[in-house]
Subunit: 248 residues, 2 copies
DNA sequence: CCTCTCAATATGTATATACATAATCACCAT
DNA sequence: ATGGTGATTATGTATATACATATTGAGAGG
């Protein structure tokens, strides 16, 4: 309630108030002190607690909401969100790097390239509202002589027009895109499938053998950029994800 | 370049100014009109262009910076960032929540429970240096009447002594641990396998059918806590990972 | 008892303002 | 030339204020 005359005599670090509110609250949530469903103090209460303006509190809470830790409801307040899910930083390496880390020669080979107007399936995969030009690619990543992964990709040419001029004969579209398009969001879907006859054929495995499928959708500031589906033979691939639960 | 006094006569949607500045700029970046390294107009210029206060512009630019699209430098201005490396936030939900989200009844059932001194394999899985007491558990997660996932877990009793007193007959060890042990690090390994005869039997699927395997190792402040291996029938499970680069 | 309306409330968005801070530039003295 | 010094500039953070908007809850009216 009082003016801030205590100048943080002890562990006085140069942390902004904004940051402190943020970390205080996420700590409470992550530690379980405030379980899912718990109502977070109202903005005006936090205003009093931290002796700051509502704008500062509001900014911090809005950020927590965007991060998915809390849910805000007008007139009701802010609440700790239910999905107390564990978040992990999953690093999906460039396939080339992955292959070369195994001491094998990397090679990419195009199987198919098609420029067309997006059909219904394309629009579903890319989450596109309207029809537009897309580039559909299929290719194989090799580790030494053996196929390592099959890639099936859609590129939204409305978002990345230059991609339409590329042949992608022996350069993989992934690194090409990464080097050109800044992306702001991605979604992965990971699952297991049995190899279809066709996939078994190109990957040189038995039909019905288990495969790991990684699908990735990428957005650059609201705009869908690309959708890609990697299929790995089960033996060749393990995804590794490491996680430290720090909140920014 | 001119002031926007046109009040969006046409597709006038209730979009906040904040949102409009945000999408305008990211569109410019995305389209390549502003390539990496390009200097974004100064806040005071955008203030004039959008005829709004600096705070509004600042908020939008700060958000773009947090999203990793631009980089801000004092005295110099804001610049389009070079594309970043890939990392993804993978959310692994509590199985109960996942099952209940499907509208099915959740149930956990213990298959096996063994308290013993860690053997060589245990120490590998837990990354333990010395031998010590561990709890080895096997159990099934049900969605309705059908098995949803098989769980095989090791708990380091040196780190979580109370776990040794628990039976885990029908409460799953995952939530039990989460509620008790603050964990500071986790590592996931994700891969596909063909169901062994035994796994096929307990999961009620065909032998050789593809399965998704998620292994998680958890540490609490340097101490290994638990290692768990989930096996999901391929049809029942897709991991979804969402990602926004860099957090605030 | 039910519905409709209106006031109260918490959040959402925006403004004007102020001062802090880091980086750069121009200038001056050596 | 060279090195320091201070002014300038753009962003960083915070405040007080205002009004919009969604939602809840209580009370009026049927």
């Amino acid at each position: 309630m009082s003016i801030i005359e205590t100048v943080d005599a002890e562990g006085s670090e140069a942390v902004s108030l904004h940051q402190r509110i943020l970390s205080d609250i996420s700590e409470k949530i992550l530690s379980g002190a405030w379980p899912p469903g718990h109502r977070i103090p109202f903005e005006h209460e936090l205003t009093a607690e931290y002796n700051c303006s509502r704008m500062t509190v509001n900014k911090a809470l809005s950020q927590l909401a965007k991060a998915g830790l809390i849910e805000r409801r007008r007139r009701s307040g802010s609440f700790v969100r239910r999905p107390q899910s564990q978040a992990a930083v999953l690093e999906i390496h460039d396939i080339r790097i992955e292959v070369e880390a195994l001491g094998l020669a990397y090679r990419y080979q195009r199987l198919e390239r098609l420029k067309r107007r997006s059909n219904a399936e394309d629009r579903t995969l890319l989450e596109l509202a309207a029809s537009g030009p897309v580039l559909a690619l299929k290719g194989l990543h090799f580790a030494g002589q053996r196929p390592f992964a099959h890639e099936q990709r859609l590129i939204n040419l409305a978002a990345v027009a230059e991609a339409g001029e590329e042949e992608f004969l022996d350069i993989a579209p992934g690194p090409w895109l990464i080097g050109r398009v800044p992306w702001s969001q991605a979604e992965h879907r990971i699952r297991a499938i049995a190899a279809s006859d066709h996939i078994a054929d190109v990957l040189d495995i038995e039909a019905g053998a288990p495969c790991l499928v990684v699908e990735r959708r990428t957005w650059s500031a609201e705009h869908p950029v690309t959708h890609v589906r990697f299929i790995y033979p089960a033996e060749s691939h393990t995804l590794v994800a490491r996680f430290t639960p720090s909140q920014g």
